[in-house]
Symmetry: C2
Subunit: 199 residues, 2 copies
């Protein structure tokens, strides 16, 4: 796994040839139990690295299209699964906990429910008020710039754009880690504001 | 291949389990013939993508430890190989051209010779005065921050640090694409200055 911008944050990625970008997953290492977000399959090396870093206690899935290898990794690690309450009725896997808007998953990790995205209850997460972690709606295809899913993929374009503007209004965001595309480790808040202004 | 920060720049990467970071290669798409820098092996998908983008005319190798798959890709694409003049006598492969300090490889791509790094004549490249592309000496292990090879790996620590300071004195650098570790697409010049100040 790769060190991100903090010594307690790691990521791993997988190239997606269809879109010509990397999919990303995040690991937050905490004394009270590690958190994985939208975990892709782990290589044997990364499985071992995760074990060395303390395994996983919680797996957060931002939306029903980002289950990836969460179910399997939960079985292997014993982690509890957290998914979006608004997608509960159609979620591909059964979670142990269902998250509402503005809910603290653990201290320092807050879930925000988006509206109008590809799936009905997609979540974005804010870690310690500085690092925004997104699933599908907010993405990065050209390094350094954020974009959103095309209108044709959104269930409600107006609501989706309002959700982006709501996140852009949060103060203190410095980093944006997207599920699909390049991470923005520097000036993430500015990129988020530029995206909101462009919508 | 992944779009970088410009529509004419692409990259591909390979996770290195020993160092827990990604190795990166760069493609610059130009009407006059594309340039590859320190090319890693290409997947079948990326080989096809490269063909669609116009193949390769020039392959630049920054140092003798970064030959990677350059020789094979040169054979397949017909590209000419460019390596550092100072490593010519011990270079693992025979290049078609050997680069000196401050030499323009093609218009808009200048080679700078570093001193004191792991190998004797390592090059750094500056693309259109804004994008610094490094081989081994300047790297990024923690996202958003640059570092250099540890002293034990340098042939001359004082000269190596002087070489970093020389690059940091170039004006207009916004992006730093390292061969080993995270690219810095935003505030690359600031990160380079911070590194130089720390040495």
């Amino acid at each position: 796994m790769k060190q991100l911008h903090r010594t307690d944050l790691f990521g791993w990625s997988e190239f997606n040839p269809e879109r010509n970008l990397d999919f990303y997953s995040v690991l937050w290492v905490r004394a009270e139990g590690n958190v994985l977000i939208d975990p892709l399959p782990l290589s044997a090396h990364d499985q071992n690295h995760l074990r060395q870093l303390g395994g996983a206690k919680i797996i957060v899935i931002t939306n029903s299209d980002h289950c990836r290898d969460a179910f399997h990794i939960a079985k292997v690690t014993g982690a509890a699964l957290y998914g979006p309450e608004s997608e509960r009725s159609n979620f591909p896997i059964t979670c142990d906990h269902w998250l509402h808007d503005n809910q603290a998953i653990v201290p320092g990790l807050v879930a925000y429910q988006l509206q109008g995205s590809k799936t009905s209850g997609e979540l974005a997460l804010v870690l310690e008020q500085t690092t925004l972690i997104t699933g599908d709606l907010i993405r990065c295809h050209t390094a350094g710039k954020l974009c959103i899913l095309p209108d044709a993929k959104l269930t409600d374009s107006v609501l989706a754009k309002q959700s982006v503007k709501r996140l852009a209004n949060l103060s203190g965001i410095t980093t944006v880690l997207v599920g699909d595309g390049w991470p923005l480790f520097v000036q993430g808040g500015q990129a988020l504001n530029a995206l909101a202004d462009s919508l």
